[in-house]
Amino acid sequence: MKHTESESVDWRSEGSSAPDLTTGERARELYEERIRTPFLVAWADWRTRLGALIIGGYLLVALVAVLGLWREPSTSQAPRYLMLFENMNYPLGTTASGTDLAALIIHSTPDILLMITAGAVWATGVAVAIGTLAGYKGGRVDRTLMSVSDLVMAIPGLPLVIILAVTLNPENPILLGIIINISYWAGLGRSLRSQVLTIRENDYVEASRTMGVSTPRIIVKDIIPNLMPYVTVNFVFAARYVMFASVGLYFLGVLPYSTQNWGVTLNFAYSGGALFSWSAAHWLLAPMVAIMGLSLGLILLGQGMDRVFNPRVRTRMAGESKSTATDDEDAGVTEVL
């Protein structure tokens, strides 16, 4: 992330500088500042719009599954090997054992969403906690935390996950998400620490410190907001990693088949010959499209959210300031993706 002069002022503090506000005004201001403006800024970008629509779509699908609006997947519930749209009762077709593919996809969605959210929250949460604390406190705390991070980073991630998965046999999606990202926080924590090292030297952080503001408050109010663009993008990364890793592990047969998952569906399709036959290709394609769609939605949303947290782009788009930058379209978009 690039940090320019204009960014060194915490945009969150602008509103609260006005004196003597009534509760109503304060609430309105809070709504304006925290909800409406970010929403407008975000919505102004087509990536966010599309990303949000896609993720919203998946949430809807999850809702369909949770509310039981679509039949549960079950063997022999339909003719075997129905093709895509061949029978509109089973729009995505059926598998070799006559299971409705749409039902398989739909009923896997809630668990996948839970899993990727849990994994991403775990990875970014721990990383932010460790990274900011280490970066801000420095000294022994820093050395200890970073040594732990280095140690965790040195453990090969995938084999560790495989061993944990085989040992624990996790079926709870939340636990599974956390296991998959068990060591993901280490690298992210280290990068965040580097960011914090630059932010902590800023004037306003210095000011807070001299005023005697407590460390947690400085971290939460002064430092973390500046890290948000980076955190958001990595949140999305972490979520995608959970999804891909879980699908891979289910596909390899490392995770228990008992749980319904797109990876399990892929595995069955693969061993059922869907790779070699057009008449079974939909069996392979349906979970793949589901995986790719969710991944695309997450990426687009991540890109769009960057605008919300990038003060320069945000204020300009919210009409609060005029940018002097000429390259207005992509200036604020992180190019890390």
Binding site: S76, R80, A96, S97, L252, P256, Y257, G273, S277
Partner: protein
């Protein structure tokens, strides 16, 4: 599972593989799909053809300098060996080419065919085996009774099945005759099946094995025979490495004239997909045993021929007889009525699965011939239907009631639990999904508990289960003789009898429909081993099968077919109606019969 030929070899458990091999296993699995079909196989086979042809240039007239390419999926050849008594890392595919067998069971003719033996005779407590005069080691030395006796004595140390009946072995009238003295008169069928079973080969090469006679069983069971390998089969050991076993035509083999090609190479392939791609792309000429689903078979080129052979093995349901609900006969019968076996077979593999026509404990194809007139009386439990009414009435009789769509006992506990299934056996997982869906649709409350290899067997051995998937036939030709499966379902040695089937007398409804009959099924079936009167054997088998039909020690759902593969583009393969294809495995049996030869 000790007997590789009869094992569940058609599906690789990736989960177990990863568990055993850890990280490198995962990497290998991840990489094998890509590396297996890159053409490396054909190149390496060409390369070694050159090598083997140079050593085999003295081969008989009409021998073509070419290599038959097969595959092993037992592991990396450099880590494997050919000592059949050390089951760990024994490559039975290679071993079966190097060593001749005593006899073989032909699934087409349902008869035994002698191979390394020229005769076997059974008289009272004596079994006399006569080795072929021309059976020789590839060194040129004859295979003698002393070799076989040495092997049998070593097999006694390892607890081989033969010694369930045998008391001692000794040389007969000459050095080609072996006499087995039995503890008591035994049924010849049982001895024949034991001698012709799976991978039992004549491998007791004295210069190598003699030293183990004075050592304990562990020594022979840990001996990896990798050097100085001398066999008596159609092919001889040349070399092995990470990629392949290289075998060459054995000039000393008695039927060497039938073999008109110089080499046999067994490439290392790790999973089913790699083998399937090998057949598809032409990299492999034969594959001993490989499961391929219909969509893949349909995509094989015309040169690929499939030979299906009954495995006498298959998916069944195991009950824990100590369970308070499923220990009850009526509950087990209700389960049997609910499960639609035809649907299980259709879902798990319509071409390779064969639903048991009746639940008798006898392999599907053998039921009618063994049960004769009584067959009609046996309860069918609806092979292709879910008989909900019958099941419901049985459950009501047993004191259960249905509430909120679920069957419950008098305390309101749902009738169900976890249904154990092996992780990674993909067709079994499909079968399990089907069974559990059917049971739950009827009102049971089961949850699938998919366990990796060790845990899976462990759960059964420790009786830590309610119900689950388990093979209901011990597998191989011997399963066609009901003594083996009927006894096996009660004792289940593979899980140490962890299903807790109660020994002793059992009372079941009488076969003629009036009154009851009491029998000790285990004792009765064991008597078959020492009965030589065929009528008495048949009667006992029927009685015990009737008991199994009523009591359900296990619930047999489907039998399966093994799929073996040949290609005929560069090879003359005997026509499809030739009975020789009925011996396991065609890729072993046909070349030495001259029924799989290089095209001129």
């Amino acid at each position: 599972m000790s007997n590789a030929t009869d094992d569940y070899s058609d599906v690789i458990s990736r989960r177990r593989f990863v568990q055993l091999t850890g990280v490198s296993g995962a990497a290998a699995l991840a990489g094998c799909g890509g590396s297996s079909d890159d053409g490396g196989s054909t190149e390496s086979s060409d390369g070694s053809t050159g090598d083997s042809s140079s050593t085999d240039s003295q081969g008989g007239s009409g021998v073509i300098d070419t290599t038959l390419t097969g595959a092993t999926n037992n592991g990396v050849p450099s880590n494997l060996h050919v000592n059949p008594m050390a089951t760990q890392n024994y490559d039975w595919i290679a071993g079966n080419h190097l060593f001749e067998r005593f006899a073989a069971y032909n699934f087409s003719t349902q008869e035994f065919e002698l191979a390394g033996l020229s005769d076997w005779s059974f008289e009272g407590t004596t079994v006399t085996l006569t080795l072929r005069d021309d059976l020789a080691w590839d060194t040129g030395d004859a295979v003698t009774a002393a070799d076989v006796i040495l092997q049998f004595r070593l097999m006694k140390k390892t607890g081989a099945t033969l010694w369930d009946f045998a008391e001692s072995v000794e040389q007969g009238e000459d050095d080609k005759t072996v006499v087995i003295n039995l503890e008591r008169p035994s049924n010849p069928e049982i001895i024949k099946h034991t001698l012709a079973n799976g991978d039992l080969r004549i491998h007791g090469y004295r210069p190598v094995y003699e030293e183990f006679l004075d050592k304990d069983a562990a020594a022979i069971q840990q001996f990896a025979w990798e050097e100085d390998i001398h066999g008596n089969g159609p092919f001889s050991f040349e070399s092995k490495n990470d990629q392949a076993w290289t075998l060459s035509r054995n000039d000393e083999f008695y039927d060497a004239d039938n073999i008109n090609f110089t080499g046999y190479e067994l490439l290392n392939r790790q999973d089913n997909t790699a083998l399937q791609q090998g057949l598809m792309g032409g990299g492999l000429d034969v594959v001993t045993s490989l499961f391929a689903p219909p969509k893949i078979v349909a995509n094989f080129p015309d040169r690929v021929e499939e030979v299906t052979l009954p495995a006498k093995w298959g998916y069944g349901v195991l009950f824990n007889h100590d369970d308070e609900h499923f220990g009850k006969r009526k509950v087990r019968q209700a389960v049997a009525h609910v499960i639609n076996r035809q649907q299980v077979a259709d879902n798990a593999g319509p071409r390779t699965k064969d639903p048991a026509p009746k639940v008798t404990g006898i392999a599907p194809a053998d039921q009618e011939s063994w049960l004769g007139d009584a067959y009609g009386n046996f309860e069918g439990y609806g092979m292709d239907a879910t008989q909900s009414e019958k099941a419901a009435s049985l459950l009501r009789d047993a004191g259960y009631s249905k509430s909120g769509g679920t069957w419950q006992d008098s305390n309101g506990n749902a009738l169900g639990g976890s249904y154990v299934t092996p992780a990674g056996w993909t067709d079994w997982t499909t079968a399990t999904n089907t069974v559990v869906d059917q049971l739950n649709a009827f009102g049971f409350d089961f949850e699938i508990n998919s366990l990796p290899g060790g845990d899976y067997f462990g759960a059964y051995i420790e009786s830590n289960f309610t119900m689950g998937a388990f093979y209901w036939l011990p597998g191989g030709a011997r399963s066609s003789f009901p003594y083996f499966p009927l006894r096996w379902q009660m004792t289940n040695p593979d899980i140490d009898g962890g299903h807790n089937f109660p020994e002793g007398d059992h009372t079941v409804p009488a076969m003629d429909g009036s009154g009851e009959m009491t029998l000790n099924p285990l004792e009765e079936i064991q008597s078959v081993a020492t009965t030589q009167d065929e009528a008495a054997v048949s009667e006992t088998v029927t009685r015990v099968a009737w008991h199994h039909n009523q009591t359900l020690p296990m619930l047999g759902l489907v039998g399966k077919f093994d799929q073996s593969w040949l290609t005929d583009a560069e090879w003359d393969v005997v026509s499809k109606d030739d009975a020789a294809r009925g011996v396991k495995w065609p890729s072993h049996w046909l070349p030495k019969q001259g029924k799989l030869s290089a095209t001129k």
